[in-house]
Structure formats: structure tokens, C-alpha cells
Symmetry: C2
Subunit: 85 residues, 2 copies
Amino acid sequence: MEDTVRVAAEELKGYIERIEKLEQEKKDVQDHIRDVYAKAADEGWDTKVMKQVIRLRKMDDDDREEQEILLDTYKRALGMSCESE
Amino acid sequence: MEDTVRVAAEELKGYIERIEKLEQEKKDVQDHIRDVYAKAADEGWDTKVMKQVIRLRKMDDDDREEQEILLDTYKRALGMSCESE
């Protein structure tokens, strides 16, 4: 019985340590991403617009076009578009 | 002038592509974490409790003890503790 508990505890510890290692890797990558944005900002690039570009590049052409048309429609509806004036 | 624009565009592209590569790495690590939790769940471990354990292991002993005392106090205050009855 004690052996079973010990084996189970070791199994659990194995999972926990694997996850902790992966969480650390994730944190390292996140830090790295932040560094790249910081460097780009130093060079004068607007990081908010960069994030928008990255989001748009993830979408396929049809989705992107559809979203741009909708955004334009909503902007007109709210009088936010130059063309609406 | 055109050369300057081209150089700037290439610099921007470099930043964007580095971030996209890192975002992909982050996604891979996240998928890996999910797989480990799924495997642990298959073996009968409760993943919510595992997440609590991981959170507790991140804290130092004093912080953990303080939080446990506070949690116990709050539970008593709300009649959620066996000892309060």
C-alpha cells in the first residue's frame, strides 16, 4: 500500500515538474516577445499597429476582406469615417 | 528615398517575422502543457487541484502560510469551515 502511494506521489511529482518546466519555457518566450517589441519601439515602430498587423496576417484573405468591409460599415454607421461626411 | 522606405519595410518585416515565430513557439509550449494536463487527467489526477499546487509551489513559505491562514479565516467568517460549527 505504501509503495502504491509512493509510486502515485512520484507520478504526480513528474507531471507537476514537467508543467513547471514548460511554464518557465512559456515565460521565457513571452519575455523574448516583449524584448522584440521593446526594440521595435526604440526604433520608432508603433507596437499597437504591429500587433494589428500580426493579427491581420493570421487571417486568410477572405476573412480579412470581410472584416475590413464590416469595420468600414460600422465606422460609417457611427460617423467615424471621413467618407461619411 | 525609396531605398530608405525599402530598408524600413525590411526592418519592420524582420520584427514582425521574429514575433510571429516566437508566438508560434509559445503556442507549441501551450499545446504541450495542455497535453501533459490531459495525460494526468487520464491517469485520474484532478487538474484543477494540480493547478492549485503549482500556484502554491511558486510562492515562498511565508507567503503560502499567510495565504493559508487568511483563507481559513475567510472560510470561518463565511461559515464554510467545519471548525466553525
